[in-house]
Amino acid sequence: MIVASTRLGKAQRAMAISRIYGETTKEVFDKSEAAVPENSPKKLLIVMSSDKGLCGSIHSQLARAARARLEKFPDADVVAVGDKTKAQLSRTNAKNIVLSISQIGKEAPTFNEAAVIADQISQLGKQYDDVEVLYNKFVSGVSFEPTIRPAFTTAAIEEAPKFSTYELEDEVVGNLSEFSLANYILWGLAEGHAAEISARRSAMDNASKNANEMIGKYSILYNRTRQAVITNELVDIITGASSLE
């Protein structure tokens, strides 16, 4: 339990910082009123989870949200980060998965990991009109909610109505788009990680509570049975002894 608490603290600190990175990135898009192009035939959905279970419904809720999204956009490609969602999504949407990444989320996520994921995605060499990052948003110690955050592509950034208020060189836009995707991936990873650790802690808490309850019940049963056997033996002995008198 102590280990889980320190890990949660670490995860929450990493999340708080990744939020600042993410929100700084988001500010530019908010101010330039960037929007997802309405006509976006090729969508990419990046689902952020991890490899490990024993943390309640974290992975299944995320997979459910991903499935709901895929029902709306059946042709969307999926990048599954973490074995858990990969396993759940490959049951229903195996054809959508273009890339899966595992061995993530053991420790609090770093920018390096996020950059590697973003790099692998760009190495797919596919052009997407819209990229969405799906992750578990850490709401509080006991709750989380699957959230979709649009990461804007180069085209979407350039078409944003107020983007022209910013002065910049044209060739920077592509880099900005990639850099912000990496930032969003880090944000998603960090929030998901914190939500997972916290869910795992309460799952373990509940497991301990249930086990303690069972121990209590069985102790009572054991003591009663033991007492019953002793009473029986005593009755036998006393009956035997009194018959000899």
């Binding site: 500010e27 530019v28 208020t165 910013y166 002065e167 910049l168 850099f179």
Partner: protein, 101 residues
């Protein structure tokens, strides 16, 4: 790698960008600039300045004179040791078969 955030109220910030070095003062027009490896200098109202080495990233100035520098890696300049840096540069140069002469 460390993740750190620093928020300061400053008078001027000098940033190395791919388009050249720029100095940002209050009321600067909104810009987005890609950082190149170099030193970011933050000058506070008291005249004190802080210097950081940044490896790369983005700097954005938004309306309302807010400047956000989002760097992949950034370290305070005082954490660098001149001698060690020279030795490391020499080693890297050797690795790539270059020489300073």
């Amino acid at each position: 790698m460390r993740h750190n955030c620093l928020t300061v109220i400053s008078v001027q910030v000098n940033i190395p960008t791919t388009a050249g070095d720029i100095g940002v003062l209050a009321g600067h027009v909104p810009i987005i600039q890609q950082l190149r490896p170099g030193v970011v200098e933050v000058i506070e109202g008291s005249g004190a300045s802080k210097q950081f080495f940044v490896a790369g990233g983005f700097a954005t100035v938004s309306e309302g004179s807010s400047l956000a520098i989002n760097a992949v890696e950034a370290f305070p300049i005082e954490d660098f040791s001149a001698e060690v840096s020279v030795i490391n540069i020499g080693e890297r140069m050797d690795e790539f078969g270059m020489n300073l002469g």
